[in-house]
Amino acid sequence: MPKHIVSTVAEIPPGSRKIVEVSGRSIGVFNVGGEFFALRNRCPHQGAALCTGHLGSAVTSTGPGHYEVDRSGEILRCPWHGWEFDLRCGQSWFDPEKVRVKSYETAVAPGSSLAPPSPGLVPGPYVAETFPVSIEESYVLVEFGPVA
């Protein structure tokens, strides 16, 4: 599957995100403690821009009046009806088996390995333009497209 260059690493510091267009798809790219995650920016419920929602914690409970909070910043809440999705895998909180948002493999690569673009690497985010690549920067890649 082709890997698309979507951002420099510097543009998405830990705790932040960037919404990118890849081949006509809107994708949210998130940095959680140095790890990158990418989810389709469309809620499976009614089509909201999911990746613009708040990031919060996983909230669990052992019983009424108890609130356990964990994995801060890893649960994405849809800006509309509040459906929660695990940033790491796109599964919904309320029905992880059946309801999910598409998640994409990401990678980080140094500019030196990307210029000129190697096979399987599609310049992005704009189809018509080449993402300017510098050997001094590192880049975030999102794997998207038909399997080669």
Partner: protein
């Protein structure tokens, strides 16, 4: 809910423009401007439930230029009016007329209506509005209705669903008389402050999810009251719109009410038809927040039980979090002809839009 076939225009029967305190103040007479600033709208005693999101709004609906969701017309155009083929949008301003000092309530309603005209209806020809009135003082409400008689941009009289008495009670009848006279429907929209009544018939719930899931209960109480008190015998031309109550809860209420009336009709002797017949003759329902049964077939069963194909009105409830999206909220199993009625034709017929 999967994507429907888009492109045909629609009427959005429930949009919430936020009229800020400053905006109201611009239209208040001086005598009330000071009062408003100094005493203002007192906090309601004890009916606060923290909503799921700030201002109970979509977290993406805060205008980039500042102000609360729904307060910026330009942003509303971007996010709603221009984002979908909306030919007309009906505003339901949620300033609560709060059953305080009656003259102040009346002044607030008048000012809010003036603000709607100047800052929403004039600049945006696609918008229409609901008329705010001090509904707990029916004579003052009638005055406000008459003030705007003939202004076709006000398409209904707005009463929030939390009132101090069930809406069939005689106290409110002068409003129905004036509305009937003007040919205006009564739009009952979820919300308001019931003068201290708990928000349920069994006291104060604990959580917002109870509050939201129980929204239909206020509408149910009014449905039963309006019909049983004989409002529609007295006002045979009166039309009522339930706004933001959903629709699927209605058929079981009608079944039970019809059965109850058969047993107990001696108590409500002015009724000459089944309660469900009055309901289907006089009521309209906006679709949001639309119910989502686990099987699509159940939605169609419910529509068949409801038997009100000509009375369903699509609404988004923008900018609230429980917003229904025009493309995706109506289930795909809805037959195309009915979809068009719900999206547009029923509203055009009810409100007289071309």
């Amino acid at each position: 809910m999967s994507k429907a076939t888009p492109a045909t225009s629609l009427v959005d029967c429930d949009i919430h423009n936020a009229i800020t305190p400053a905006a109201v103040a611009r239209h208040l007479p001086e005598r009330w401007r000071q009062y408003h600033a100094q005493f203002g709208r007192r906090m309601t005693p004890g009916d606060y439930y923290p909503k799921a999101t700030p201002m109970a709004s979509r977290t993406d609906s805060w205008p980039p230029g500042g102000g609360p969701p729904g307060s910026d017309l330009a942003f509303m155009r971007r996010q709603l009016l221009d984002a979908w083929p909306i030919e007309i949008g009906i505003l339901n301003t949620l300033i609560t007329i709060r059953n305080q000092y009656r003259d102040y309530d009346a002044a607030m309603a008048t000012a809010a209506n003036a603000c709607q005209v100047a800052e929403w209806l004039e600049p945006e020809p696609r918008l229409r509005a609901s008329l705010l009135v001090p509904f707990e003082d029916p004579q003052l409400a009638v005055t406000e209705i008459r003030r705007h008689a003939g202004d076709k941009r006000f398409v209904q009289v707005l009463i929030p669903s939390r009132t101090t008495e069930p809406l069939g009670r005689r106290k409110y009848w002068p409003i129905y008389a004036a509305a009937s006279e003007s040919g205006l429907p009564i739009g009952i929209h979820f919300g308001g402050w019931s003068g201290g009544h708990p928000i349920s018939g069994a006291g104060w719930p604990t959580y917002y999810i109870e509050y939201h899931t129980g929204m239909n209960q206020t509408f149910q109480a009014h449905l039963i009251s309006l019909i049983c008190e004989g409002v529609f015998e007295e006002f045979p031309k009166l039309k009522v719109v339930f706004i933001e109550g959903g629709i699927a809860w209605i058929p079981p209420v009608l079944w039970r009410l019809d059965r109850s009336w058969r047993q107990l009709k001696a108590e409500a002797p002015t009724l000459r038809q089944l309660p469900s017949e009055y309901f289907r003759k006089h009521f309209w329902l906006t679709t949001q927040p639309i119910e989502e049964p686990p099987e699509p077939g159940q939605f169609l069963e419910m529509i068949a039980h409801l038997d009100m194909d000509d009375r369903l009105l699509f609404s988004t409830d923008y900018p609230h979090w429980d917003f229904d999206s025009p493309d995706t909220a109506l289930p795909s199993v809805l037959p195309p002809g009915l979809r068009e009625k719900v999206r547009r034709d029923n509203a055009r017929a009810l409100y007289g839009f071309a």
